[in-house]
């Protein structure tokens, strides 16, 4: 169409330059061209209205061309919002069962223009923000174009601002949606609810059971566990890019940037400014700006002009004060600027409060305590303020992640929609829900912090005992000796032999030593070191003793004591000989140390107790290619286990008793010094490799080991529980 219009204009403009006698031909000619172009245009746009789903023509439609729907004056109106609605009463979860990935599917109704009997439109067809919001949904994983598979329906009727629509007619428009069904599973978005004079805190449009994602809910209107509270969109946040500013003190302690405040509140704030001087700044709109300056981007104090929202970055705390509505767009600006919001709006439900921990990122002050707000804020320790500021940085960080795909819309709207859907998703699939930490912990905190998988202080009962796992290849004689020795340990409850030799069968049943506990042999498919750390179903106890088939020097007392120590530290590796990692300043890398030092950071797993959960972690959650590296090098599986456990628990190993060596490779003198040295080099290489895969050095160095309480005390040996503790 556009093209034809252009030719039409150019046509007559050319004609006066032509000779009049050719005129008739050119008119004919242009008529033909025009006709052709109209026909082309028809072809281009005609199929559009029939097959709206065709990709290539979806791109080129105008909002003005959407179908018009006439609403008869007597068409049905939904009930008012049902305040008693909860997920289990008003939401049909059975619609949400068709998807494999635990993501709810969202359908968007096609855009239509609604008019009343007289052809007067019901509302603006669609606002820029609502269009972008729906676009964000349709680009997300949640979107489906199959109405039958959808779990959640989003009407394209724009109710973001109640003041731009006619309430009764909008409600009628909602009621005639094809799957309305009293509004079940329908999600409406509203940011500016209510209207003068009393400004309701929720959308006034009757909506029956529809879910409402609203800005400015109060405790009176918010249906806990049903509605979603969202922030009020601020156009400025989308337009302005603020530089990142780290935690720490800022120029102003408290800042108020809102315009149009109630005079009474403004008086209170100005009184604070008088009392506390420079550290408090109360801004208002500017009265005498020169032409062409955007007044929304400036704030003034007396005659001083400040750039908004940049000025927010200069303050530690920023006031977010209720207006006629509870939800204020300034909250978004303040968050973006990394200023800790001081929310003064009684009964306001903060955005996404169902999942976000606002205590960690804001200060909520009751309206009646407004005059005390300065002293309340002063009483907050600096460290807590910095934690709040760090918490705020998460918001923009997450925003960037989520909006990378959507360049046009790097505002709050995109993550908001993601969050809404995610929150509702969590309600429908609570068992797959994102945990509190995932919602609230900034990546910065995650870096240094550890969430120990075995966090409950619990000393497992002794009666459970432990399972000994012996990895063996073909040293049958030595293996049998180990089995006999280990079976003497009182708390042994099962013995598992992992037969790692595929070319040879394990000895016949009758040849095995007769022991008092069950003995099982597991044959492996491949000769791999990691077989030692596989979470075999046969392991029924929580405690596992990994033991090599040549460790025969450990006494029964030593092993039993090791188990007792493990019970007191069930989340740690408890082993006998200790090893250390050191930073080699000359080579600028890590070094493995087996000298007899005063410190330990690892224990050898030639004989070590640990929780069987770490077998699961080793087999399925080992980062990077460490497992393959270990199997390829046939070495360092113990170092890998030490890294894994230290990384996930943040705790050091426990070395038990004096043992410094087994008959271990690095101590044998079969091939003399050279073999020893290659071994050490290889082990050092492992440490460097693993540290780079983990991205950090998780090992913790300690200077203690665990001995029996009366070890080497001047006390009768026969009265000691563990008299027979071996040396070195």
């Amino acid at each position: 169409m556009c093209a034809s219009v252009k030719y039409n204009i150019r046509g007559p403009a050319l004609i006066p330059r032509m000779k009049t006698k050719h005129r008739i031909y050119y008119i004919t000619l242009f008529s033909i061209v025009l006709l052709g172009l109209i026909a082309t245009g028809m072809f281009q746009f005609w199929p559009h209205s029939i097959e709206s789903s065709n990709d290539w023509n979806v791109e080129k439609r105008s909002v003005r061309d959407v179908p018009v729907v006439r609403l008869p004056a007597d068409s049905p109106i939904p009930e008012r919002g049902d305040l008693s609605c909860r997920m289990h009463t008003c939401f049909d979860v059975y619609r949400c069962g068709f998807n494999p990935k635990n993501k709810i599917k969202v359908y968007i109704y096609a855009l239509k223009k609604y008019v009343d009997d007289f052809g007067v439109s019901v509302s603006n067809t669609i606002s820029r923000e609502y269009n972008e919001l729906l676009m964000a949904i349709s680009d997300s994983d949640y979107y489906t174009d199959d109405i039958n598979r959808a779990c959640l329906f989003v009407p394209s009727i724009d109710v973001l601002n109640q003041n731009t629509l006619r309430i009764k007619e909008t409600a009628q428009a909602l009621a005639q949606l094809s799957r309305w069904d009293r509004g079940s599973n329908h999600l409406l978005f509203n940011m500016l609810p209510g209207g003068p004079p009393d400004y309701n805190t929720a959308l006034d449009v009757p909506r029956d059971r529809a879910l409402l994602a609203g800005g400015g809910f109060s405790t009176w209107t918010y249906r806990q566990g049903y509605d979603v509270s969202i922030p009020v969109y601020s156009p400025l946040s989308a337009e302005v890019d603020l530089p990142e500013k780290g935690p720490g003190p800022r120029q102003y302690f408290l800042l108020s940037s809102q315009v149009g405040l109630h005079p009474e509140y403004r008086e209170d704030l100005e009184a604070l400014q008088v009392k506390h001087g420079e550290s408090v700044l109360v801004l208002d709109k500017c009265t005498n700006l020169s032409e062409g300056v955007l007044s929304v981007r400036k704030r003034c104090h007396k005659h001083q002009v400040f750039d908004y929202p940049q000025v927010l970055q200069e303050a530690t705390f920023c006031v977010v004060l209720r207006g006629a509505r509870l939800g204020q767009a300034v909250l978004s600006d303040v968050l973006q600027a990394g200023c800790v919001p001081v929310v003064i709006a009684d009964s306001y439900i903060l955005p996404f409060s169902e999942v976000l921990d606002w205590k960690r990122a804001s200060v909520v002050v009751p309206e009646e305590k407004m005059s005390d707000v300065y002293s309340i804020l002063q009483s907050i320790p600096q460290r807590q303020i910095e934690e709040m500021q760090r918490q705020l940085f998460m918001e923009p960080a997450r925003r960037e992640n989520w909006s990378a795909a959507n360049h046009q819309m790097n505002s709050l709207i995109w993550p908001r929609e993601q969050r809404d859907s995610q929150i509702i998703n969590d309600r429908i699939y609570p068992y797959a829900a994102i945990s509190y930490e995932e919602w609230n912990d900034p990546p910065v905190v995650k870096w240094g912090s550890v969430s120990n998988p075995l966090f409950l202080p619990l000393i497992p009962p002794q009666s459970q005992g432990f399972t000994a796992i012996v990895l063996t290849y073909d040293r049958v004689e030595s293996l049998f000796r180990v089995i006999t020795e280990v079976s003497k340990v009182p708390s042994l409850s099962k013995l598992l032999v992992v037969w790692n030799n595929q070319n040879k069968n394990p000895p016949e049943d009758s040849l095995w030593p007769k022991i008092r506990v069950p003995l099982k042999v597991v044959r492996t498919a491949e000769n791999k070191l990691s077989n030692r750390f596989f979470p075999y179903d046969e392991i029924e106890t929580e405690a596992v003793l990994a033991i090599d088939d040549d460790i025969i020097m450990l006494t029964s007392d030593e092993l039993q004591f090791g188990y007792e120590v493990w019970r007191e530290f069930p989340d740690r590796l408890v082993g006998y000989p200790g090893r250390l990692h050191l930073w080699d300043h000359e080579m600028n890398k890590w070094k493995y140390e087996s000298e007899w030092t005063n410190e330990v950071s690892m224990v050898l797993t030639g004989a070590a107790f640990y929780h069987k959960y770490f077998n699961y972690l080793y087999t399925y959650k080992m980062p990077g290619d460490i497992k393959n590296w270990v199997d390829a090098h046939m070495n360092c599986e113990d170092i890998a286990m030490n890294f894994l456990v230290a990384n996930v628990t943040g705790k050091a190993v426990i070395k038990v008793t004096p043992r410094k060596k087994f008959k271990c490779p690095e101590c044998t003198a079969i091939d003399g010094l050279s073999l020893d040295q290659t071994h050490m080099v290889e082990r050092s290489e492992c440490i460097n490799k693993f540290a780079s895969v983990f991205g950090t050095m998780p090992l913790k160095v300690v200077e203690h080991r665990a001995d029996p309480v009366l070890y080497k005390d001047d006390f009768p040996e026969k009265l000691k529980s563990f008299p027979n503790i071996g040396s070195l």
Partner: protein
Amino acid sequence: MQSWRRRKSLWLALSASWLLLVLLGGFSLLRLALPPRPQPGASQGWPRWLDAELLQSFSQPRELPEDTASPPQAPHGGSCNWEACFDTSKCRGDGLKVFVYPAVGPISETHRRILASIEGSRFHTFSPAGACLLLLLSLDAQTGECSSMPLQWNRGRNHLVLRLYPAACPRTFQLGQAMVAEASPTVDSFRPGFDVALPFLPEAHPLRGGAPGQLRQHSPQPGVALLALEEERGGWRTADTGSSACPWDGRCEQDPGPGQTQHQETLPNATFCLISGHRPEAASRFLQALQVLAALQEMSPARVLALRQQTQFLWDAYFSSVEKVIHTTLEVIQDRIFGTSAHPSLLWNSPPGALLALSTFSTSPQDFPFYHLQQGSRPEGRFSALIWVAPPGQPPLKLIQAVAGSQHCAQILVLWSNERPLPSRWPETAVPLTVIDGHRKVSDRFYPYSTIRTDAILSLDARSSLSTSEVDFAFLVWQSFPERMVGFLTLSHFWDEAHGGWGYTAERTNEFSMVLTTAAFYHRYYHTLFTHSLPKALRTLADEAPTCVDVLMNFIVAAVTKLPPIKVPYGKQRQEAAPLAPGGPGPRSKPQAPAPDCINQLAAAFGHMPLLSSCLRLDPVLFKDPVSVQRKKYRSLEKP
């Protein structure tokens, strides 16, 4: 010629225009002729409007300035929220002060003990005028009598009505603005952020202490049933894994699996229990419809592990006794009053829980000994020595020198607690030395003095004798276990069959459960706990029987950590010449156990025995090893 030229130009123009047409329209015609196939993977979503840029914003700038209307009002007269119905102005200063209405007439034993428990707590006040919360106990189910409207009712403002058991009698007066704390509130009457939902307590629920959680294993045992369903008559049916093959339409015919029914008292031995509220019979249908089993099977071992442990933590911290439930309720309300200085969520949701991590101590998790791992922080590298000088009161010069010699020592505090005048001269030390004039009470030793500026405290008795390397090593160990007590001399408790009570001994044994506080490292937070959270009666007990204070401190720390203390080597022990034991004047040949009655009184007050035994001692890595002493860092620890 003219016409030919005219015709030529006409043809030229025509062909040019058709060429143009073909170029412009050809592609469209082509596409029209070949019906487009939906591209795989391409979402045919929301249209990209041609005029999207021209759309108007939902709010015009001129709309934004608003008149401030009055605060949103309650839609119905009966409803309440925190701002509207609670007057926080009464709670300034001391935080939450609770007045409990005394019972009228005869009351049940439970009622009496609950009253006593609140009266013993730090929240209690005897004056209704000074209270910020007035508590009305509604324990009707027990005695059958119904409470009448109390005196200071004032439409229920700042009142909390605590209903531990389902109300048996009709409500005799309107609850109005009072908060209600009850089990299973209905959605219609519950006011979020105002009322408090309680767990449903059986009448036999222990008042204090309470049984610890029954979890013995962190991870589920292989072979144990995955899910148990609550059945109608209080029994349980266990469902196993193979039975989740129900189609998603909520209409599957088959039985929920090869289950077996267990009865009543014993809880089922299963990883998950399905509880379906009021309609147990719906459980099996619920199971089929929601494919609970399939969902649970999908759950990763890590998540199951975390959930299991969290249930135990929540039970132990908030649910296991009536007292904990009541204190949790009060703590929730106090957090609402405190606002910014309320417990951070981390303190509520990770061990030891908000009742034991006082927000009055700090709201920053790093200040506590419990959260260093989650916070990615480390305990401080310095300690304060707090030396208690009891009668006869000689300045412990040797001890001061030994402690001040430690590179980790930040300050020395001398708590002068005897009748003799303060000495005017103190030894010159590298670290600041402060003298505090005490009140001659043993509980002074555990007062949170503001002069203590480090997290670690080395608590000492003037007669203790320690070497610098003993102090250094013990402090390094404490840094690895900042939530525990690290001590040199130990006591151990035992169950005395003959007397039917607890006893304890200072004899050297293979196990220990307490360390003497006359030489021990611990976190300064325990001073706050000792002074501000213990019932006053227990502190008095410590003052009256000074030897009991060690046991009391060990009880507190064990109740919080649920772990035993840690023992480090002590060189003088073999000589049996060190009077490290607390108590009265006079030399002692060895630490002597105080009267055993103390431990029984404490066990009764705590409601259970929190002490745990340990069978290990943490020694330096090369301790007493037959290697060259030149290698050893703590060689003086081994000297006789």
